[in-house]
Amino acid sequence: MSLDMLLQHLANGISLGGLYALIAVGYTMVYGILRLINFAHGDIFMISAYMAFYGVALFALPWYASFLLTIPLAAILGMAVERVAYRPLRDAPRISALISAIGVSLLFQNFAVVVFGGRPKAFPRPALFALQWNIGRVRVLSLTFFIILISVAILAGVFYLVYRTKTGRAMRAVSWDFGIAGLMGININRTVSLTFAIGSALAAAGSIMWGMKFPQLLPLMGVVPGLKCFIAAVVGGIGSIPGAMLGGFLLGVGEIMIVAFFPELAGYKYAFAYLALILVLLWKPTGLLGKVAEEKA
């Protein structure tokens, strides 16, 4: 394989990894606070893609307006899911909340089949993102470049929010110890809502770029990226935001590289993420950057 080809694959891998990282951060933030695998995260991702699509196709908004509007709508959706399906179960055994998450995920998927229809929809790709750029002898789609740029910028913003602001400190405190954080005067419900809002907004940003990269919308499109990104979050160390980013990029680059080097294994591409998950969990259950934490009672 020539160097050019390698660079090309690397660019693809990093842009895919950036999308994975955006979604994985949403998972890891929710898991860090509630110890809950938010199975509905992948479906919020799917619904955001449809919202952005309908904004352009049905309401004839310009693409930037539709894309920008999708993000707060997704945040509201995430908060609503938390309020309706997870908050009543906060004191129940943890598995109950997981089952509830499965229920929400099923509901969203079936809802999407009924309302959006099972036929694939073509996501719009604005001209700005469809340019062919030649860097040296590597040809990159402008979209690839923008995805890397935007996702890194958003991730930096999340980093700032969580580690440099008062709200972020509250979030970290709640994830450290739910009860004590409440005693210290932190509004737990608000913090949890905010976490869901941020996670869902990240998923929406990811899904819009995903839609432009793979412009085919289907009601079940959120499942595979959702599971993969949870795996990325676990690989990086669940609960750790830098870990989720690292896991996302590793998974994206790894996936592209495996198919690039062993094309005959392409059919098994999907299984690789799971093998990575199983190996990491058995070898280092806390993930690459995770800390050893006592299980919360």
């Binding site: 399906a85 179960l89 943890r94 997981l98 099923l106 809802f111 009924v114 799971y274 299980e295």
Partner: protein, 351 residues
């Protein structure tokens, strides 16, 4: 009420069930028979999930994988040779399988055994993990099994699937297997193994202190559950007669969870009721998929609407009625008769 009486009552009701099934096989229309068969198969799956989650406390989302293994094995062994040649027109079936055609019972047993072995192989790594991690890893293994069945063209025929599987499954087979599964799981739950399972569910550390080998018991529950899930898979394949990898997605595992949650986690009676309700609801809600007319108003139906309603019911149950129908209570004759006791009392007083 003595033990003897309740045994006699059980025997009588089993015979009545047998007579009913014999009658139903000959007299009911195929649609109703299919629903009854599906209920029985769902009972098998629910009871096995209950063994892992309700009794042992391990949340597994890997049922679809074991069901797939059982279904593919049984289907490949029972497919007539001519049908095999028709199915595998792209890539021929590998040698020993292409010449084998054996009766239903040994195929079912082989399918169940293979699923059980897969249960052991998957259980060994997965059971090292706890709670939601285990759920995710088992879900992952099930999806890996599906991806493999999608890609192993020379064994599973890939995404083309297997068609024309003989419809050996009838009411006696399906309900017989369901009764056998319930019997075994019930025996197991009442044995010392069952008490160990429940001890693990309640408190792993305390159970270990009492000398219960946690890993061994978890693996045992997991493997037995996988074995019977595979049995149900074999029955399922010979009922629906066409299988392909997309039948065995995680949605099938979710379905098993739904059934168990509806009926009540930890109750076999609940599993049976849950299966009956789930399958019946699935059929009863079918009209919502088609347009409906009330007088002059026509409500346009949308395909998939019933799935939306089923998921809403599922969510309402988990949110507001977490115990499900039965909680962890079981049906017993004593309980049933105690309901009639007041009637007898009144009759005696009036008399």
């Amino acid at each position: 009420m003595s033990r003897q009486t309740s045994r006699i009552l059980t025997a009588i009701s089993l015979i009545a069930l047998f007579v009913f099934l014999r009658w139903a096989e000959g007299n009911l229309d195929p649609y109703l028979r299919r629903i009854l068969n599906l209920i029985a198969i769902n009972v098998i799956w629910a009871v096995t999930f209950n063994l892992i989650y309700g009794y042992t406390g391990q949340f597994s989302l890997g049922h679809a994988g074991f069901i797939a293994i059982g279904a593919y094995t049984t289907a490949l062994l029972t497919l007539p040779l001519a049908q095999k040649e028709q199915n595998f027109f792209l890539t021929p079936l590998i040698w020993p399988l292409s010449n084998i055609h054996i009766p239903f019972l040994p195929s079912l047993i082989l399918g169940a055994l293979l699923a059980g072995i897969a249960g052991i192989l998957i259980g060994i790594p997965s059971l090292q993990l706890r709670g939601d991690y285990m759920a995710l890893v088992t879900l992952g293994f099930a999806e890996v099994i599906r991806v493999i069945s999608m890609n192993l063209q020379s064994i599973t025929n890939g995404s083309l699937g297997l068609k024309g599987i003989p419809g050996y499954t009838n009411l006696l087979w399906s309900w017989g297997c369901a009764a056998f599964t319930i019997f075994i799981v019930r025996m197991l739950a009442n044995s010392s193994y069952g008490r160990a399972f429940k001890a693990i569910r309640e408190d792993e550390i305390a159970a270990e202190t009492m000398g219960v080998s946690i890993f061994y018991h978890k693996l045992m529950a997991f493997a037995i559950a996988a074995l019977f899930a595979g049995l149900g898979g074999g029955l399922f394949a010979n009922l629906i007669s066409t299988i392909d990898p997309n039948v065995f997605t995680y949605i099938l595992s979710y379905q098993v969870v739904t059934v168990v949650v509806l009926g009540g986690v930890g109750s076999i009676t609940g599993n049976v009721l849950g299966s009956a309700i789930y399958v019946s609801l699935f059929e009863l809600l079918r009209p919502f998929d088609q347009p409906m007319t009330f007088g002059s108003i026509t409500i346009p139906g949308r395909p998939g609407l019933r799935m939306v309603m089923l998921s809403i019911i599922f969510l309402l149950v988990i949110l507001f009625y977490r115990r499900g129908l039965m909680g962890s209570n079981e049906f017993s004759w004593r309980w049933l008769l105690s309901k009639f006791q007041p009637l007898f009392e009144r009759a005696r007083q009036e008399g």
